[in-house]
Symmetry: C2
Subunit: 510 residues, 2 copies
């Protein structure tokens, strides 16, 4: 037999090029959401659709299927489990891609790009009716996609479950129900307890100038390992994190007028995402650009951002370290001391906006979106009724009713880009973060003590050893079990919140 | 015969997709030069190389060649000249692409991207030796490219001429010699006259804060038709203009410490480029995405940027309108009145930096680069000798010697990206701008009077009728002849400069 590159080497080359194309889309997405002028949207949509079609062709071609099959034979059944896992993940994804009609792939990419543009405009003008047709089209296309993909699933899954797989591999509605019921039961009671025991802290009306907010965010990042050689921070309408290359990490934030802590907390959050990406295993041929070198699930991703936002930046010890800097930047102390500043970081009161929500109400925002997604995708809820259903459920879960759709069902970018099945990962992130943090504290001692000592680098180091290098060698729930020794549950999260509520309400009545 | 889309329709679709890919490269280039972190350069190089390989494959494939041939048959010899011109330009470009080895295309794209990164660093550290290997590699690759391309040229051309064709179609060294000799003869004498008659205006040492420079640039653009719906302005190390989509136009500038007029003039310049791009014919199937819808040459492109920079922003009337704004922004008047401000806009004294050069010395900077390019590409000048040759020629032409390579042969980005054959277009731009301006004044009256009346919109309208819509229906010299009724010459440019020198020196001795 003539010698030549092995099938695994050729497969590596193929995956490398796929990763290049995917990262070009990421760069265009970043550009679109930070600097692209509005009129560029249609052309950008065509560019992204072209790349999506190329990606789909690469990932579903007969040549690629042959390459995967040849690599499977070459690897053999005795290979180390991680190498076999790489091919198993490729095989699963290949099956999915080969179920999809290329015309649908292009149509979806175009509809997602158009959806983004229409949403930006509709949200600015608070005009749900202008957005509704784009949303309807996205629902129709995503349903078609779910129906095409269902054939490739190893087990029977509902349309919503099929669409959720890329974000949360192996997730089911039954498992989410199990995890969400304790949240739906316990969180409203905790919110009630805070409301009756603690006076609602009012946000300082004094505006913190944008330049100073930027400066505080830059200081935060510098103290958490931000390296301008490999990182870039920009502004966008909706904060996000994205990886453009193996040494090119971007995050964006926005300054919210009248909310001096918003950009700061969003920066902590997005940086947590980026740290996970930066810590994914890259060094070895097993990993990059193989599936094992990728993030395993959006829930795990979110657990890392929430860890830095909630466990670190919203902690008492962190408030003590940063209070003086904010006061100096503002030129006054509208919080009336460090305790007030800590309370402002943890308002623990229901609000209308998910990305501004505190840890008690956040998961209820997710429950609302999850249930509405199911209704839209699986229960024929007419799109026109979305605003009223949103407002009704918001009243039931959080006791609040939006007065505008901008503060209601138009607030998130996800559905505008056709991302159904994504929201529950945010709630899973809270649960995973809490359960992983329990384990971390068993090794390193209380997080508050480490933060008080200014030692966030040991937190980074522990996560960088225990969590980030796992890549996709395990799925989200397996990761939790491997790191913490127990199956994922809502209990550590609820226990953490009970503790926080106790200290906040305890503080309130000294 | 089975009916289906015509060959011309299929060709249109093919060109549309090519344009999408090309504009993705433009978006990545913009990102690279405005926000990409330095460590992202290697991956970005791979992304751009992948796109370049795809572009080359599309533009040289047998299928594409068949499509062009079928479209030629379908169109027939009786078709309108513009439609035939489209196919002639495609046929010429196809011949060139099919001469190129795909491996060379990829290697060049990688070397260009690496060259950019190495140059950024070497320039910052004033380290020519660090840049030399990248430059050598680019010269080697571009020579190879010239040798491969030579076979496709309709007439015999030297390597430099071959490489210059994409920037200045049909240009020859002999024609450049003809146009440049009067410049080399007359410009030093004019510089001498200014130096002996006018005290060199000193730049105000007071710094104009960046935020205020940005504000003045934004006001300038607003008054010249900038529309944020389709335009974006960013910062980069080297100002440039680029088109990312048919409705997506970007320009960049930089603030130069201690030079309060630099960003302002660069903004005027880049906006001139962008106006031309925005005014290219797009409405009709003949034009977009066909060759006729493209800019015809870099010389014509440059003539448009120079028109707005030199004929408008450096004019006496414009200085009178803007002097007070600059004084107000600075909080003082370091120019000592409007005349001083106008002189500061027109220093007319030799300097080391091309992009900061005035109208008298600018073309001498180009002559230096053109002659050194010829030496590097056709006369075996060793790269190591470039700094000393640069410095020697700079002394001869402008009477100045750089003390650092940063202010010498490392100042420009062009060679770092392998752009040989480009620089002469800048000088042609001055010549074309002056000759076109003469014609414009015959129709609209003196430019100074229009500016004094605040009526730059009539300048925009005239160029938008007379120049921009020609696209590639004519080459650069044909455009000049069509618009002005005469062949291109250096005389209108020199006449304009003599007039300017007369008024400046006249003013100096009232």
């Amino acid at each position: 037999m003539a010698s030549g590159p092995s099938a695994l080497t050729r497969l590596h080359g193929h995956l490398h090029e796929t990763r290049l194309l995917g990262s070009i889309s990421s760069a265009l997405y970043y550009d679109q959401n930070t600097v692209m002028p509005a009129a560029g949207a249609a052309w950008r949509g065509e560019q992204l659709a072209l790349l999506a079609a190329q990606m789909h062709a690469r990932q579903s071609s007969a040549a690629y299927a042959d390459l995967v099959a040849a690599a499977e034979v070459e690897l053999g059944a005795d290979a180390p489990p991680q190498r076999r896992r790489n091919l198993q993940l490729l095989r699963l994804e290949l099956g999915r891609q080969r179920c999809l009609d290329p015309a649908l792939v292009s149509a979806l990419a175009r509809a997602q790009s158009r959806g983004n543009a229409v949403w930006q405009d509709a949200r600015a003008r608070n005009d749900f009716a202008a957005f509704a047709p784009a949303l309807k089209e996205l629902i129709t296309l995503r349903r078609q996609q779910a129906s095409q993909l269902a054939a490739a699933e190893p087990v029977a899954r509902s349309p919503w479950e099929v669409l959720a797989q890329p974000f949360e591999p192996d997730i089911s509605k039954a498992r989410l129900e199990e995890l969400f019921i304790p949240l739906k039961t316990d969180l409203p009671a905790l919110l009630e307890r805070v409301a009756s025991a603690v006076a609602v802290p009012s946000e300082p009306s004094a505006a913190l100038p944008e330049a100073l907010q930027e400066q505080l965010c830059a200081e935060l990042l510098a103290s958490w390992g931000y390296n301008a050689e490999r990182c870039q921070r920009s502004r966008s309408a909706h904060p996000f994190s994205c990886t453009v290359g193996p040494q090119d990490f971007r995050i964006t934030t926005r300054v919210v007028p009248g909310q001096p802590l918003s950009a700061f907390l969003a920066t902590a959050h997005e940086w947590g995402h980026s740290l996970y990406e930066q810590g994914l295993p890259r060094g070895d041929d097993h990993w990059f650009p193989w599936p094992l070198g990728e993030a395993t699930s959006m829930g795990v991703h979110e657990s890392q951002s929430l860890f830095w936002e909630c466990r670190v930046a919203r902690s008492r010890a962190f408030a003590e370290r940063w209070h003086a800097r904010f006061g100096a930047a503002l030129g006054s102390d509208p919080w009336g001391g460090t305790l007030g500043f800590w309370r402002a970081l943890n308002p623990l009161r229901p609000g209308l906006i998910r990305v501004e929500a505190d840890e008690l109400s956040y998961c209820l925002h997710i429950v609302l979106r999850y249930e509405l997604e199911l209704a839209l995708l699986e229960q024929d809820l007419p799109v026109e009724e979305l605003p009223q259903q949103w407002n009704r459920r918001m009243g039931e879960l959080l006791g609040l009713t939006p007065t505008t759709d901008r503060d209601g069902c138009l607030q998130d970018i996800h559905w505008a880009e056709g991302l159904f099945g994504y929201f529950p990962s945010y709630a899973l992130g809270h649960l995973i973060s809490a359960q992983v943090a329990e384990t971390l504290e068993r090794t390193l001692g209380p997080i508050e003590a480490l933060i008080a000592a200014g030692d966030e680098s040991s937190l980074r180091a522990w996560l960088g050893q225990s969590v980030w290098p796992l890549g996709r060698s395990v799925n989200g729930e397996q990761l939790v079990e491997q790191v913490t020794g127990r199956p994922l549950s809502a209990e550590p999260f609820l226990a953490y919140l009970r503790g926080k509520v106790a200290s906040l309400t305890g503080m309130a009545t000294p």
